[in-house]
């Protein structure tokens, strides 16, 4: 108990000094000429390490583009899904670019920029399958991973008369698609386009959109100047198509239409 108290006191003290020293994050970034970006490098194809041991992925290239545009040196802070937000709260990183979806719970503790990408959840089918709407999917068997958001969402669409085949995990679901047991899968757009990469004889493409989760850059609360600059940057690069190019390069599909400029 005593120890926890000490740690708490020390961290509060530390937090205060840090806060005092960095009254404005944007000023500090400009002064040091360096931006620290928290990115998870273990979630391909958003963040990963290539064969030359260099970080790559859509989030990595987004961060590189930002640093280049702002004329800053880029420093990656390796993070995991769970430590993304604490990283900016404790000032270990300036911003988060790490497949961070915008949720109301998170918005209570950090600020979000405008969305720069999206996590697209879709029903994807063999390219040869004619399917444009939910009606076309009636009676077709759709493979899902059991218990995922796609499973729950599609299970609740009772009036749409969908036939679901539930597999234990993504790997088995993809095998079902590759081997020909399933002609349709409900999963992320990224996985759908990867099926065709791994099994060129059975190319899949997104057919019907289920939901899109906005992915945004996260930063500490109370940094209006940095937030404004990030928003302007995101808007500009969505408009000139650069973010779409990065997304397509790694995820195999374009950003949702309403995001493209």
């Amino acid at each position: 108990m005593k120890r926890t108290l000490t740690i708490a006191t020390v961290s509060v003290a530390l937090a205060c000094t840090v806060h005092a020293a960095q009254a404005d994050l944007l000023d500090d970034i400009t002064k040091t000429g360096k931006i620290r970006v928290a990115t998870d490098l273990a979630i391909p194809p958003s963040g990963m390490i290539d064969s030359a041991m260099k970080p790559t992925g859509s989030d990595v290239e987004t961060a590189e583009l930002l640093a280049k545009d702002w004329g800053l040196q880029l420093e990656f802070v390796q993070t995991t899904g769970a430590t993304r937000i604490p990283n900016v709260q404790t000032n270990k990183a300036d911003i988060i670019i790490s497949t961070l979806s915008v949720t109301p719970e998170r918005a209570k503790v950090i600020d979000f920029s405008k969305p720069y990408a999206a996590l697209q959840s879709v029903v994807g089918c063999l390219k040869s399958v004619e399917a444009k709407s939910w009606d076309d999917l009636k009676g077709k068997t759709i493979a899902v991973s059991r218990g995922t958001t796609q499973d729950t969402t599609l299970t609740n669409m009772k009036d749409r008369d969908l036939k679901l085949a539930r597999y234990e995990d993504d790997a088995t679901m993809v095998t079902a698609a590759v081997s020909g047991q399933a002609d349709c899968v409900a999963t992320s757009a990224t996985i759908v386009s990867q099926i065709g990469v791994k099994a060129p004889s059975r190319p899949f493409e997104p057919k019907v959109s289920i939901t899109n989760f906005d992915l945004a850059i996260g930063l500490k609360k109370g940094e209006p100047k940095l937030l404004e600059k990030l928003n302007a940057w995101v808007e500009q690069n969505l408009k000139n198509g650069k973010l779409n190019v990065i997304y397509k390069k790694f995820h195999g599909t374009e950003l949702p239409e309403n995001m493209r400029g």
Binding site: R146, G147, A165, R166, Y167, E168, T172, A176, S179, Q181
Partner: protein
């Protein structure tokens, strides 16, 4: 650390569990029917004087008894689809389970056949029974009667093993359980309930085999003893 059990959310999904239990029984029934026949034929084939048939049956039994059931199921499910045959998960599960239980049945039946004394067969031939009559009344039925408890136990095991077919999206009892627990986050309650369901199914299966034994074997019916 108090254990906080809440069965209500799990119990209100009882129609799902019922569907799952029915499918588990259907799977077991199909597999026992096909597998039992295949196994018996295979046991006969292993003793055949035709060396090719004997080797074929021995190869099948050894291949199945030395590989895991899950691997066999994946081989049939994804293998068949890769070469262009697409069957429903249920049929593939039933066939894969039948192939599996067939090999074990073959070994059990072989023991049954070997337990029939040559003198018994010679006596039947001496009484001028036809070949079919000898096979049916003097060899097959007594052989089954002798290994009946082992067969029953193997078939109950098969019913329990059908749980792994949830992996290839057959919606049997375990698949339902996996789904319900991912939906309700009440894993402990769900699996307790499913375990109870399996106990009931096992008892039902045992009772069915006991009744079948009474019908098949007159000695049991009349004297209450087995061979």
């Amino acid at each position: 650390m108090g254990l906080n059990l809440d069965f209500s959310v799990v119990l209100e999904r009882w129609p799902l569990f019922l569907d799952g239990a029915v499918m588990t029984l259907e799977l077991a029934f199909m597999a026992i029917l096909i597998g039992g026949a295949v196994g018996t034929l295979c046991a006969v084939g292993r003793g055949s004087s035709n060396r090719f048939i004997a080797a074929l049956c021995a190869g099948y039994v050894e291949a199945i008894r030395n590989t895991p059931l899950l691997v066999q199921i994946f081989l049939v499910y994804f293998g068949l689809a890769s070469i262009g045959f697409k069957f429903s998960a249920f049929s593939v599960a039933a066939v894969a389970l039948a192939i599996n239980v067939g090999a074990y049945t073959a070994e059990i039946m072989r023991a049954g056949f070997e337990s029939i004394p040559t003198g018994q067969i010679e006596a039947a031939e001496g009484l001028a029974l036809s070949r079919v009559q000898v096979y049916w009344h003097v060899i097959l039925l007594p052989a089954i009667e002798k290994v009946y408890p082992s067969l029953t136990s193997q078939f109950v095991l098969l019913m329990l093993a059908s749980s792994v077919t949830s992996q290839i999206s057959a919606e049997e009892l375990t698949a339902v359980a996996n789904y319900v627990q991912s939906d309700t986050y009440r894993a402990f309650e769900t699996y307790i309930l499913v375990a109870l369901c399996y106990v009931v199914l096992s008892l039902v299966l045992r009772a069915a085999f006991w009744a079948l034994g009474l019908i098949l074997f007159p000695r049991r019916r009349r004297l209450g003893t087995s061979l």
